[in-house]
Symmetry: C2
């Protein structure tokens, strides 16, 4: 196996101006004959961001499948969701997706994934392999049977969802996988026998064998040198990590600028695009620092409210976190770990909507950034005598409209761009 480790590229450094996210586009419009469309009024509008502004879509699955307890409330959440995000993460925890062996919830998840895809949302499955919430029936199997069951599961999900979900967290939290002390489980048993590298290889190779056009992430919450060592182990073993997943649940306090930039600097050196896969920022009191596993923090929703002061702080921190991550050219996406407080992990007040469905300031602040400061709304422009017009905007998908004819335009690269477009389309 050839090592995939590469020396750090020197160019990838933090730039809070976000120049690397923007293009100054000169667009020449011509008609079907190739003649310039001079002195014409056109409308230009952004349709999507290249950057992945993601969120989990867990809480919409029941509603999409017609099993909502409160359809009006869920529809309102869905509307807020679609107004802000362009990437969804859907849950494939083994112990829930296939609590009874041989009865996977494929239909229900496929319906949810298609709902998002039909609305232009990229969907990621999370995760193909993890010790937590792994199927309890694995515990009844011998080690080699566990190995085979995990392989079968990975191939099945990747094949069943191909074309709808082609991005997966291949394996989650490998750093602690073989030493996970909280509950006995079959994945930890296997990881201890096979080692961490073999576990990563199992997940990545089975998934890629089932769908060669897949995008696979390695994902972890451990931002210490342990994760660096693990990444280097995978790369040296020839395991192709398409994207590097970094979690940033901040239940015990926000990272702040110094820590965030240090993490970005350390993990960008592998020349693998980074996804911030799981971000939570609370609008209530933090979990005490002496809790080492967040799952140990068992609090009722009533005992852990979203407060006015907390919401103001959350809005500040959310904005700062998004600005910092967009400021690093290696970061491709940022997924927030839950839109509504309702049904949030740990009952934490970490959502962007309150339990009554109203927006917290963080939602509005984020909307102002993603669909405001970083967004080009429909803009009337006029071509010059050569058919040219100019605009500056974030990388992503745009539309140009002229006399009711609409042409799509994707801007991939930052900096000055000279593009041409024919209207109407041939």
């Amino acid at each position: 196996m050839t090592s995939l480790f590469t020396a750090p590229a020197p160019s990838r450094s933090y730039d809070p101006s976000l120049a690397h996210r923007r293009s100054q586009t000169t667009l020449t419009l011509s008609d079907a004959t190739g003649a310039p469309l001079a002195d014409r009024d056109v409308l230009v509008r952004q349709r999507d961001h290249a950057f992945g502004f993601g969120c989990i879509g867990f809480e919409l699955i029941d509603w999409i499948n017609g099993r909502s307890q409160d359809a009006a409330a869920d529809a309102a959440v869905a509307q807020r969701w679609l107004a802000l995000f362009n990437r969804a993460t859907l849950p494939f925890y083994g112990g829930r997706f296939e609590a009874v062996r041989g009865e996977p919830k494929t239909a229900e998840l496929l319906a949810a994934a298609r709902w998002f895809k039909d609305r232009g949302i990229g969907v990621k499955g999370h995760p193909l392999l993890w010790h937590t919430l792994s199927p309890p029936w694995l515990m009844e199997l011998e080690v080699e049977e566990i190995d085979q069951a995990l392989r079968d599961r990975i191939r099945r999900e990747v094949r069943d969802f191909a074309g709808v979900i082609d991005t997966w967290d291949a394996i989650n939290e490998v750093v602690i996988m073989p030493v996970f002390p909280v509950e006995p489980n079959g994945v930890t048993t296997l990881a201890r026998q096979k080692g961490r590298v073999a576990m990563m290889r199992l997940a990545f190779e089975e998934a890629r064998a089932a769908n060669p056009n897949i995008t696979l992430l390695l994902n972890d919450f451990d931002m210490s040198t342990a994760y660096e060592c693990l990444i280097e182990a995978a790369l040296e073993a020839g395991i192709q990590i398409d994207r590097l997943g970094l979690q940033s649940h901040m239940h015990q306090g926000t990272w702040g600028e110094e820590q965030t930039l240090r993490v970005l600097e350390r993990f960008s050196r592998y020349n693998i695009p980074i996804h911030f896969t799981e971000t939570t920022i609370l609008s209530g009191t933090p979990v005490p620092a002496d809790i080492s596993d967040l799952n140990d923090w068992q609090v009722s929703p009533e005992a852990w409210p979203s407060t006015e002061e907390g919401e103001a702080r959350q809005a500040e921190e959310v904005e700062a976190h998004y600005r910092r991550l967009l400021g690093h050219p290696s970061v491709e996406s940022l997924t927030y770990w839950g839109l509504p407080d309702k049904d949030m992990w740990l009952n934490a007040p970490g959502g962007l909507l309150r339990r009554d469905g109203t927006s917290k300031p963080a939602y509005d602040r984020l909307h102002q950034l993603i669909k405001g400061e970083w967004w080009m709304p429909e803009t009337p422009l006029r071509t010059d005598e050569a058919g040219r017009l100019q605009f500056e905007g974030f990388l992503g998908d745009y539309e140009v409209e002229l006399d009711g004819a609409i042409a799509p335009l994707t801007i991939h690269a930052p900096g000055a761009a000279h593009l041409g477009l024919r209207l109407p389309l041939a």
Copy 2:
């Protein structure tokens, strides 16, 4: 490259009875013709331990080389040293061993290594590659030149010391090597470019190429999952780690039983014999917990005394630590990081001898264990009618004396052993 990762062997678990360190030997003595030496008085005495009771020998190098400031005091330290230990670690820090490029201190270190070897002490070189105390002149080189200089150095030392030092810490503290923030250095520069696995491969492969019969350690202070990930990376990459080095400097508080046994459990699962390479237990106040790099703790010897209370506690902790480590079958040796307080790293009161050369209680306690409770002094025994005698003792080297003839005997394996010996030797 074939992976060297192996599933954990189930048998290696902690046993405070130390049964795995002892043998019940039945020895049949016969004369040169093969006839049993029945009803004879013999003397049996232990000569050495199989277990490596090590200590650094740094402070004896000047004295051995005839450059002592106080020869009587150093001779006394040497005598105390030899009365307790059977393994020496000698310093090969690049920046000191070869502060000026092309002027290595080979002669001086060779003299020191031979002094120990001549006294039956196994010698280890520490380390062949490390970022701290690396040669300052590396900073003037290009990356590929650093790579070559490190390879040349490793081959040179391994060759120059072959037959005298055949055990080496191949590479030290790889977990932090590429992100070591304290001082710019050429090794960190190279590690960042090449990655941790390539650095380990460089050290292990160059050393083994220069001496195929070498014993090589991977050594680290980081007992977190980071070190596990690193070890698994090395094994998957086919790097042969002969012994696993675990440091246990306890300047900020002793580990205690729970932590020690957990470390032993976690690191024994790789089926590689473990050396506790660097142990320090203080007889004074601990370094504050908020100091993350011990080298930042700059205190004069006068400001950091060995106290009576501290010495009593140190003796307890030293005994407990040695008992725990001998209690795990995977541990092969334990090296204490400095006999006298004089010239100790950080000026810490971590030695077993005070600055005035007198023994702390920990020295006496350790002597009582290594050459007392765990040792078989010269013992008069008598063979039975079949020429047999029985004794129980720790694994190691013994002598049997009969009528002035002395025969050596090595006991390798624990449990009941039936051995035969001819006297006098053919």
